[in-house]
Subunit: 622 residues, 2 copies
């Protein structure tokens, strides 16, 4: 645009203006290497070569409109307020239309069809092996799966795709993988992770990108039909497998995160696993932005109108904020128990006892407790006492709450680390999920204590010289904290296991999740591949430390990843954050990459020793 | 007093008033156990039994005054301002007499003779083996030692004590241990730690408490004479031994800390070791109060007028504050080097090269650098350029600085832990000394993350249920942080070694120092004994983790304390903080002490594994 401006406006002599633009490019990108500079030069030159006059017609003739009206069955608030904001007319909303208490409805991204990609994921049902990987890693929850009785297909649109489910003993059950194409960003992670290749055409896989336009109308109908199919019942799903969990409804969808985001898949899986029992304290950072920016929020609710309770807090106090959620929930449960006992003569001994004492470990048990709570609420509504009203107001808390503290490394390793340490030390049943991009992603790439040796970042332009903080080891030192380090691109099964173990552990839990990021300077399509290389190089060992094992006289420390098979630089030098130094300061780069390798080796050695393996043996657990 | 008041005033019926007082006692002290309540009851009863009228004479007849005038050779500010404050007449000081920039002179506790104890430490020179232990542990630096040529004794007062020094090859060298009796608090730690017992009288030791009054005049003269003896030259002293280091002048003396304080001896030794090169950032807490309260400060300076630079900062930012001291010192050194090179034509190549390149590892080398800096300053003073003036203003920084961040566990484990973590992660050459009393001592005994399982504290009145944070392990996880855990009551030699290694290490260092405290509910005379029991039970393992060892292919983790020989409760139940629970909640107490023992066992096992010893072997290093 700048090139065009100077070429057309004539405010500077032509040659002089182009010279100045190129000088500025050289200065700005000198640290990114010659290739980037040359690409920019070429962009300038091609701009000049392709500059031509566009005649603007006096009247518009196109009939296609990308703007879709929000359908009439959307909630009133969405139709009256959210829609205006999406259309960029927020200033015209009268103050009287806005919520007086700042409360906004959740689940509103579904009404904001962003259509940002011309190419979208397409399912080839004939190739699919139903592994669930594509859906598991999809950053925007646009790939959904359901199984259902084949009779449901009687009314399906003709283009609705389905296959028989890959499971013995269910000959009448069909399976559909539905892509929400208007929300698809075309990031291609699904294709990269898909293991089902056409033997006749190695590039064709069970899911791949293809053009969108011609599919729009048909798929809209398919999605509408897919939504009418019942959600698979939570207790019927196999929680221990990636494909099993993908039958659960995600309660986090269509966020505004980057295409190919490495963070959001972790959050999505959390909402599938723990659904409407989630209480989330979200630290400031990318996840607070894509998690709760106006006009829409990706956090949503299930068919019963229940969803996670989510709130954002500051970098510096999010752990305490989440701990407060836990303390509050615990207090409300104990108040509810007291009231139940007090009202026992009116409620009956059996329901009170069941409500207080029933196990809520399995999903089926939680469903039963939910049912009991509904019964209780129905009774309480017919009662008139103050105690009954009080109990009614907190009865939902009798269903086990799952408290999660979520944030990035800027929060957990740096600004909020004191509070996180405090919350972990409390011994309370909180779960912490750190979306570790190893840099302050949202504010533009500043170094954090999670930034590794030899990587560049703002405030570490010459490569970080000290090591990445080993937050896992710090938490392990408490002895009673469940700790896991995961990378879904390397082992989604281990990610799943860690999340379930963390939640099941009745004490503090910490999961460090490797999250690839545009700030790494990578081809985002290869994000999961980089996760795998991080693990294969030994840089990011997959671990689980479960204090429960100690009670059974087992070693609580489990190393889930195999012995390193590639050097650190084979992983690192696919990323511009490392690579750039080889161009700007080759000697330093060489020295730092060696130091980084030494740190990787030392850490691996420490972990192997903790796992109790001999120096040459290895005993993978998963 | 309350008993007297009610007995005399008659505002309540006699029996009723005594009943109410006892009821209040019972309520207040019920958690401290029956014994304390009964002691209070007895105090009330004895008050009544001993209540008698005192006839006040019309005229005073006593000739003794405890108030000593500050001598005329004291600095002007001390005579005009400090003295007024000490006398309680601060309100009468004119504003014009106060420093306009808030700067107060250091080394002023020496003028405030508090005379708080009737019984003071007395040296029995015939029994003394010159081990230095008494002086090492003295919390108020009132026990000093010097060696000197015997000719110095020619002018000594007749009561001045001396013996020949215990060292081969110095037949003409005498040794004196001088007690500053007006500053002695009578805490008795010196007696407890003294190994030199009279074989004919097991209770008589080389140092012991005795009455003060009759010794006052004579000892004042002795002290005056002792001060005239030259301080032992820093390079001539053996830094590796307790008695050697006690020949060094402490630059922290006569503080207002509790009698028998477990913190101050550590600070004193620091000032002896690193003297006037110290920069101290002191977190809020006991150490900031006794370290810098008006009207006097215990931080002092040597004969050359140089002393530690000390400043107090907040709980929440002291680590960053101290890191800033380091960065500033480093920056000033690099500025000084630049200026030296610029001025080389005027200064001469040799002095510039020596100032920049000379080693400053040994004390003798530091003395040489100091001498070179003096020469430089003399030359610069004769020069007129701006560069010369600038260099003159920072030339003192060319002498290696020793930056220490000091504070309690409330700072390091809790409120300042995020900042401490950040400072340690910086990789910079800072040294951290944590005076770990395991509780917020200064603010009245609130629980911190350093408070151990089973101990009571404010906010943990029913005994702490979670474990003490293992700050040592957290710091070790960085890999490049020197970490030590010390307890001078168990092994002063190891304390000394850790301090010297920490300072010598060119990177971040952390020393966790067990500090017994009145908040533990102990007989303070037995403070050092409790330190020893903490180590003997395996509760407080003595460790040193030195990253330098790894470079030499050695295990950086060294376990300095022997296999536990007593159960945890043999240590814990000498302290009211643990014991009280056995009276108030015996069942919980039993459960918690078992849990605490399990945590001790687990931690010991982890440390033994890290040290690389087999499960049954033990290889002490010291």
């Amino acid at each position: 645009m700048q090139t065009c401006f100077f070429a057309l406006s004539g405010v500077l002599p032509h040659d002089e203006s182009i010279h100045q633009i190129k000088k500025a490019i050289e200065k700005t990108y000198s640290k990114k290497g010659r290739k980037i500079i040359d690409q920019n030069f070429r962009a300038v030159d091609m701009t000049l070569e392709n500059l031509f006059e566009v005649h603007i017609p006096l009247h518009t003739s196109a009939s296609i409109s990308k703007e879709r009206k929000i359908p009439s069955f959307a909630p009133e608030f969405v139709r009256n307020v959210t829609q205006m904001m999406i259309a960029g007319n927020g200033d015209e909303i009268p103050v009287s239309a806005l919520p007086i208490d700042g409360e906004y409805p959740s689940g509103t991204t579904q009404w904001e069809k962003r259509n940002i990609s011309d190419r979208i994921a397409v399912w080839e049902s004939d190739l699919c092996i139903q592994c669930g990987n594509c859906s598991f890693v999809c950053p925007h929850s646009v790939i959904r799966s359901k199984f259902y009785h084949k009779d449901y297909l009687d009314d399906a649109p003709p283009s609705f795709k389905s296959v028989y489910i890959n499971a013995r003993g269910f000959p009448e059950t069909k399976y559909t993988l539905q892509v929400y194409l208007e929300d698809c960003t075309g990031c291609n992670l699904c294709y990269e992770v898909c293991p089902a290749t056409d033997p006749l055409d190695r590039l064709r896989k069970a899911i791949h990108l293809d053009e969108k336009e011609s599919r729009l109308e048909g798929e809209r109908k398919n999605i509408q039909y897919f939504e009418l199919l019942p959600h698979n019942d939570r207790p019927t799903v196999n929680y221990s497998t990636v494909h099993g969990v993908q039958f659960l409804q995600p309660l986090f969808e269509f966020s505004g995160a980057c295409a190919g985001c490495g963070e959001t898949p972790y959050i999505k899986v959390l909402t599938q696993l723990f659904g409407d029992r989630l209480l989330v304290a979200n630290a400031t950072g990318c996840s607070s932005i894509y998690g709760g920016n106006l006009p829409t929020t990706p956090w949503t609710k299930n068919a019963a109108g229940k969803g996670p309770a989510w709130s954002n807090s500051l970098f510096e106090d999010n752990a305490e904020f989440g701990l407060g959620m836990r303390l509050t929930a615990d207090k409300q449960v104990s108040m509810a128990h007291q009231l139940l006992k007090k009202l026992e003569p009116h409620l009956g001994e059996s329901i009170v006892q069941n409500l207080i004492e029933s196990s809520q470990e399995k999903e089926s048990e939680i469903a039963e407790q939910r049912h009991r709570v509904s019964q209780l609420k129905a009774i309480l509504q017919r009662m008139d006492s103050g105690d009954a009203k009080h109990l009614l107001s907190i009865a939902d808390q009798l269903v086990k709450r799952s408290v999660w503290l979520i944030g990035g490394d800027g929060w957990a390793y740096d600004i909020g680390s004191g509070g996180l340490d405090h919350a972990l030390a409390s011994g309370r049943n909180i779960n912490v999920l750190v979306l570790d991009t190893e840099v302050y992603s949202n504010t533009g790439g500043q170094m954090s204590k999670a930034t590794p040796t030899a990587a560049t970042a703002k405030f570490a332009a010459a490569g970080k010289r000290v090591g990445k903080k080993d937050l896992a080891m710090q938490a392990i030192s408490y002895g009673n904290v469940y700790v896991a380090q995961v990378a879904m691109g390397a082992n989604p099964q281990q990610t799943l296991l860690a999340m379930r173990e963390a939640e099941a552990y009745n004490g503090p839990s910490l999961i460090l999740a490797y999250s690839h990021c545009i700030a790494h300077g990578i081809d985002m399509e290869k994000g999961l591949d980089q996760q795998n290389k991080a693990v294969m190089s030994g840089y990011w060992p997959l671990i689980r430390y479960n204090p429960v094992l100690r009670k059974n006289n087992k070693n609580p420390f489990v190393l889930d990843s195999p012995k390193p098979v590639i050097p650190f630089k084979s992983y690192a030098y696919n990323e511009l954050r490392y690579k750039v130094l080889t161009q700007t300061q080759p000697d330093d780069a060489e020295r730092l990459i060696q130091l980084a390798q030494e740190i990787v080796d030392l850490r691996w050695k420490t972990y192997v020793e903790m796992a109790g393996y001999g120096p040459n043996s290895f005993q993978p657990v998963l």
